[in-house]
């Protein structure tokens, strides 16, 4: 690879520095770009188990009556969250394509008004793309007064395209205490805030 040697000069150093700095800035931006890229990648492939936002049910969804899929429900409290939180139905057998409603029970046993936010996670991850929520309490924050309890609905459809080998899906919600954040934004105990964490 014989080539004439460039003269040692400020201009060629300048060029190297410029290219390197462009690389540095580019890679720093890339690092931050990884955040939305990761989200997009996860949305497309469903790999981190985060089920998507609100699903618009198609009128022409076929129900596959020959196939049954078991859907299990789990509920956990985030750190410091003291509500009672559990699925009313632990597990249900569904036909892909048919909308199903289940409820989750939440009770604020403390002596203060609080706001909760549920975050879903689905396993196995490959099933995520095929689990559609048309209505979910995880789309919104849940304010509850002291001592108040409620049953929160989840309406979902399992897509008939769900891979054959998946016969059981487990949907887990973790309930976090967002009272502080809600207070700061002046929404404590008042209107529900639409939150696209679902």
């Amino acid at each position: 690879m014989a080539e004439p040697q460039p003269q040692h000069g400020k201009r060629s150093n300048g060029r190297v520095i410029a290219w390197c700095m462009a690389g540095v800035v580019g890679m720093f931006a890339f690092g931050f770009a990884l955040v939305p890229l990761y989200d997009v990648f996860c949305e497309i492939t469903g790999i981190n188990g985060k089920t998507g936002g609100r699903y618009e049910a198609q009128v022409t969804n076929q129900v596959d009556a020959n196939r049954t899929v078991t859907v299990q429900f789990l509920a956990s409290n985030g750190p410091g969250m003291s509500w009672e939180f559990r699925p009313v139905t632990r597990s249900i057998k569904v036909h892909p394509g048919e909308p199903v409603t289940v409820n989750f029970y939440a009770e604020n046993g403390s002596d203060q008004a609080m706001v909760g936010q549920a975050v879903p996670s689905l396993s196995p991850a490959e099933g995520t793309l095929y689990f559609h929520k048309t209505e979910c309490f995880c789309f919104n924050q849940q304010p509850l007064e002291a001592g108040e309890s409620t049953e929160m609905p989840l309406v979902f459809i399992v897509d008939p395209e769900l891979p054959e080998h998946i016969t059981k899906l487990t949907l887990s919600y973790t309930l976090y205490d967002q009272s502080q954040k809600a207070e700061v934004s002046g929404a404590a105990g008042a209107a529900k805030t639409t939150n696209n964490n679902g």
């Binding site: 981190n48 188990g49 299990q72 789990l74 956990s76 409290n77 985030g78 750190p79 410091g80 969250m81 003291s82 632990r90 597990s91 046993g109 403390s110 975050v119 996670s121 689905l122 396993s123 196995p124 080998h165 998946i166 016969t167 059981k168 487990t170 887990s172 973790t174 976090y176």
Partner: protein
């Protein structure tokens, strides 16, 4: 419980022999007691031997040179510095060896990822610094915490055989059945590992992971948390008891009954007399060893509770020290070891026994709320 004890004796006999043989100089991975662990062990040994063989050849050539090509022995240096054929060969041959390794590795991994058709589902939650096991189809669950006494850790007492690998409430699963584990965490990332199952999976807060096992042999299997999770990362072991199916079913039935009873007790409206009665029993089991049945303790290491400022003073401080312990002393955090009912009963008892007579009462619900607000 009796069935359990008989099984334990039988297990002990079976386990003690390998336990003695498990030398302190254990050098290799265990083949384990599941199909997965055995497959992993085979892979491990195969790769190991391939590496040893390659090492012997390569180092052999090197040691030969060190011996035969020394300047001090008159060796004259050759001048070659490339050989295309040789270089191509030693690129292609390792590549081929790698492909050969990748095939069984892929097969094993595919099987490890197949969580379908499970017969038992258990939710495992990692907390700082203990595990919670919930049998999701059976409506009961419990915490599993390290039961090695502090005295052993701090070198005041001789260490027991299962030092740091023993818990109060092990996970119980049936032998021969596919058990699916659903993992999550409450606070930071933990990781659940049982070497003899070949099972390890991270427990990530806010997310659910799944893995599975099918244990072939009954026994007690011990593992540990394998993701740094804070100060007591090394003190939250995993203990699993694999028992025959009938025994498992009997155990599950017992647990469901007990959980139902405990739920009723937690919810019910307790009177002071009822709490005192229960509290006296709980105190005798959990506290009297250090604080004495008459509350006089053995100061300064074990303060007296009779007439103590904590037992007669601020309620919250009293609850705090029983639930969270006192660091730097022998007073453990009983919040993980006693039920809400027992905690409420014991504290109520301490505040009223031996002439303390505060008239105070703590309900299980109040304990539950206190623990959750921390």
């Amino acid at each position: 419980m009796r069935v359990h004890a008989k099984r334990a004796v039988a297990l002990a006999a079976g386990l003690l022999s390998p336990a003695v043989v498990v030398a302190d100089w254990t050098m290799n991975m265990t083949p384990g007691v599941t199909g997965t662990s055995n497959q992993i062990f085979s892979l491990h040994m195969t790769i190991l031997w391939i590496c040893v063989a390659i090492g012997v050849v390569v180092f052999g050539v090197m040691f030969w040179s060190i011996f035969a090509h020394r300047k001090s022995q008159g060796a004259k240096p050759a001048n070659f510095h490339e050989n295309t054929v040789v270089e191509i060969l030693w690129t292609i041959i390792p590549f081929a060896i790698l492909v050969a390794m990748a095939i069984p590795a892929t097969a094993t991994l595919v099987e490890m990822y197949d969580t379908t058709e499970s017969e038992v589902d258990i939710k495992i939650t990692g907390y700082q610094w203990r595990w919670q096991y919930e049998y999701i189809n059976e409506d009961f669950g419990y915490f599993s915490s390290l039961s090695t006494p502090r005295d052993q850790i701090e070198n005041r007492q001789a260490k027991g055989e299962n030092y740091l690998l023993e818990v109060d409430n092990p996970l119980v699963i049936p032998v021969g059945k596919k058990v699916r584990f659903l993992l999550t965490a409450n606070d930071v990332i933990h990781s659940w590992w049982v070497p003899e199952f070949g099972v390890k999976k991270d427990a990530i807060p806010g997310f659910i992971n799944e893995t599975w096992t099918r244990v072939d042999e009954p026994g007690i299997y011990r593992g540990q948390c394998t993701e740094l999770c804070g100060k007591d990362h090394g003190f939250m072991p995993v203990v699993v008891e694999a028992v025959p199916e009938e025994e498992y079913n009997a155990w599950v039935a017992e647990q469901r009954e007990a959980a139902e009873k405990e739920r009723q007790l937690t919810q019910k409206d307790w009177t002071l007399e009822e709490l005192m009665e229960r509290g006296e029993k709980a105190y005798a089991t959990a506290c009297a060893a250090c604080h004495q049945a008459d509350g006089s303790g053995a100061p300064p290491a074990f303060p007296a509770l009779k007439g103590s400022p904590i037992a007669t003073g601020d309620m919250t401080a009293h609850i705090d020290i029983v639930v969270n312990g006192k660091s730097g002393t022998a007073m453990q955090a009983f919040g993980n070891q006693l039920s809400e009912v027992d905690l409420a009963a014991v504290i109520t008892y301490e505040r009223n026994a031996w002439g303390n007579n505060t008239g105070d009462m703590v309900t299980p619900k109040e304990i539950f709320d206190y623990k959750n607000q921390q």
